[in-house]
Amino acid sequence: MKKSRRDFLKIAGVTGMTTGLAAIGIFGNQTVRAESSTPIGSTPAHGLHAGHAAGVKAPQSQAPHVIDPTSFLTNFEQGKFVTLENGESVREFNLVSYPSLIEVASGVKFPAWTLNGTVPGPTLRCIEGETVRIRFRNGDAHPHTIHLHGIHPARMDGVFETVEPGQEYVYEFTAQPFGVFPYHCHIMPLTKHISKGLYGTLIVDPKTARQAAREMVMLMNGFDVDFDGENEFYTVNGIANYYTDYPIQIKVNEPVRVYLVNMTEFDKINSLHLHANMFWYYPNGTILTPTEYTDTVMLCQGQRGILEFSYKYPGRYLFHAHQSEFAELGWTGIIEVSE
């Protein structure tokens, strides 16, 4: 039979028969101006002539009933305290892995492996020296673990203790040192388990709290929606161009602290560039004095740090990956500074 036919059907298998039918439709409609049309995608509104249509907005959240990226930005899970028999108080978090079809760009669904329903998973926050428990239940059809960065015993490292589907594992450790850490599944093939979405951020605060600021978490990632080993979309906090369509609101002179983590799979590095400003940079957040005063930071996968800045003038400012390719594939946002 037809190779061409089979090729077509391969594609049809992925994109659905409707697309195939539409392709046939194009054949007959080429010269005829369509009577109806549906907008898709969005043309970048910045750097173009004024009045250019912005197009379709980013989806408001990845899936119904899960947190939207605006809330995710400032949502720090504190867990709940459990008192043990010996009187010790333990901070406990619950993580559940389960598959979910999430929207990663306007109209594009990705069959993800989520933690508590989103990619990235929730931002966990505790204080240095506390006993922390992460109760992980695997609600997916594949084995998973939660591998933690930081200092802890071997059995709390989430590598060899495979958590089979339906099973539960409790990671218990003393939070040390303070800083910002990624957590992620460590089952082989690792590329697959990470690119499917099993990761998030763990923040360990120093015993003496940092100065008050407007705090945000930004986890940089990519989505390989056609599974060819390359990302089609890049995001912060899970939806391409989300913060372009729903800008982050801050005030003039308001101190801002960003916990930045890079979990981008397939690409060697990712980066963040802040427009019209400079920030103090604390690599890993493990030291209290900044090492750099810059407007751009570059991170490899798993690398992270803390940014501190405030805006002097009101207005709209871009922030994006300083790899133009990533910026144009969804890793661009706007900070809106008001008086």
């Binding site: 039979m1 037809k2 190779k3 061409s4 036919r5 089979r6 077509f8 059907l9 391969k10 049809a12 298998g13 992925v14 028969m17 195939g20 039918l21 392709a23 046939i24 069959p111 594949h142 084995p143 082989m188 093939p189 690792l190 590329t191 697959k192 599974f227 060819d228 080993g229």
Partner: protein, 374 residues
């Protein structure tokens, strides 16, 4: 003399051609099947030397597996690679084997689904596929017989030309398919040449056997019937190849045989039935013969789908499509000769009915092909 020559080269008496230090290796991954948590790949060494499979990568990550009977595969030999791997449904799976000389060969499944294991239910599914895309459409086409027959005898040439138009496109399509599949077959078997051989051999054999039967001084009725049998034989061989390919594509999840595609195949292959009964429209033919030509043309899709579903090979599919194409072109030749008869071949082209028949026949084959391609 030959022995002497071989001895001379072997013993080094004659000038030796310097041997390249890098052997030309080639491994083809012929078929990948998926079981729960396991990938099985059929490897064929189609290169010039024995190869040793040293390493394995799944989706570009180093992985472990077993090769049986041995990881050293002799030239033109086969082996089975088995890998315990948690493949994910509906995502691609890529297998790369790396030889001891560091040469990498890849095979991929575009959309992973569980490969159907042999079962009575699956047997039933493949028989059903064969019936839907081969047998049923051919008989739907044969159903036009009474209509064709009720028409005035002056339209006889029109329908014969219509058949020629259909068959020419079907033949060209078969060659295209055969060549495309031959490109995917293991290189060591030179399948492209095999396609040319199959095409010409079937054309020439049918010229020798069938041609003599038709050109004998039997009556017009007998010749129409003989033509119908020849056409159904050609189409039957084509359908065997098509069944092989559809069965294989279904088994590895490359096609979803939905209602749309089934209807497409039915419409497309109905034209095959019309092609068969056209030569019979000028005479009275018993139901027995109609049934027989229908079975010869349509039934081979069933064993084709079964064979393709359970053990597909590009080599056999190419060969059957080529043999079918040769048979189809031989029939085209016979029908033209039959139409020309006393008039001489070139004279038939002056006829408006012949022009309309040829053109509409080709258009019918082309437009219905759009229902199964894109």
């Amino acid at each position: 003399m030959l022995a002497l020559l071989i001895y001379s080269f072997e013993s080094g008496v004659l000038l030796q051609v310097p041997v390249s230090s890098i052997p030309v290796e080639r491994v083809d991954i012929e078929r990948i099947s998926l079981r729960p948590g396991e990938i099985i790949a059929n490897l064929v060494n189609s290169g010039a030397t024995d190869v040793e499979i040293a390493q394995l990568q799944v989706n570009d990550a180093i992985w472990g597996g077993t090769v049986s009977p041995s990881n050293v595969i002799p030239r033109l030999g086969k082996a089975t690679l088995s890998v315990q791997y948690p493949w994910i449904e509906l995502e691609p799976v890529k297998i790369s084997v790396i030889t001891s000389n560091g040469i990498k060969f890849e095979g991929e499944i575009a959309v992973a689904i569980l490969t159907p294991e042999f079962s009575l239910q699956l047997l039933y599914v493949f028989v059903l596929i064969g019936i839907y895309i081969g047998l049923l459409p051919v008989f739907l086409g044969l159903g036009w017989y009474p209509i064709l027959k009720s028409l005035s005898a002056r339209w006889y040439d029109f329908f014969l030309s219509f058949t020629v138009g259909l068959l020419v496109l079907l033949g060209v399509d078969s060659i295209k398919e055969a060549l495309m599949m031959s490109a995917e077959a293991p290189a060591g078997f030179n399948v492209t040449l095999l396609v040319v051989f199959g095409l010409l051999a079937s054309f020439i054999s049918l010229m020798t056997i069938g041609g003599s039967a038709i050109s004998s001084k039997s009556g017009v009725a007998r010749r129409g019937l003989a033509l119908a049998y020849l056409i159904s034989l050609g189409i039957g061989l084509h359908n065997l190849g098509e069944g092989l390919a559809v069965g294989a594509a279904y088994a590895v999840g490359e096609i979803a045989l939905g209602a749309f595609l089934i209807i497409g195949f039915m419409t497309h292959n109905t034209t095959e039935g019309i092609a068969i009964v056209s030569p019979l429209s000028s005479e009275k033919t018993s139901l027995k013969h109609i049934l027989a030509v229908g079975l010869i043309a349509g039934a081979p899709t069933i064993p084709g789908a079964l064979l393709g579903g359970f053990s597909f090979s590009n080599l056999w599919a190419s060969l059957f499509l080529a043999i079918g194409a040769g048979a189809i072109f031989q029939v085209v030749f016979e029908v033209l000769r039959y139409m020309a008869d006393s008039r001489g071949v070139l004279s038939i082209f002056g006829d408006l009915r012949v022009f309309l028949g040829l053109t509409l026949g080709m258009l019918a084959m082309y437009s219905t092909s759009l229902l199964v391609t894109a």
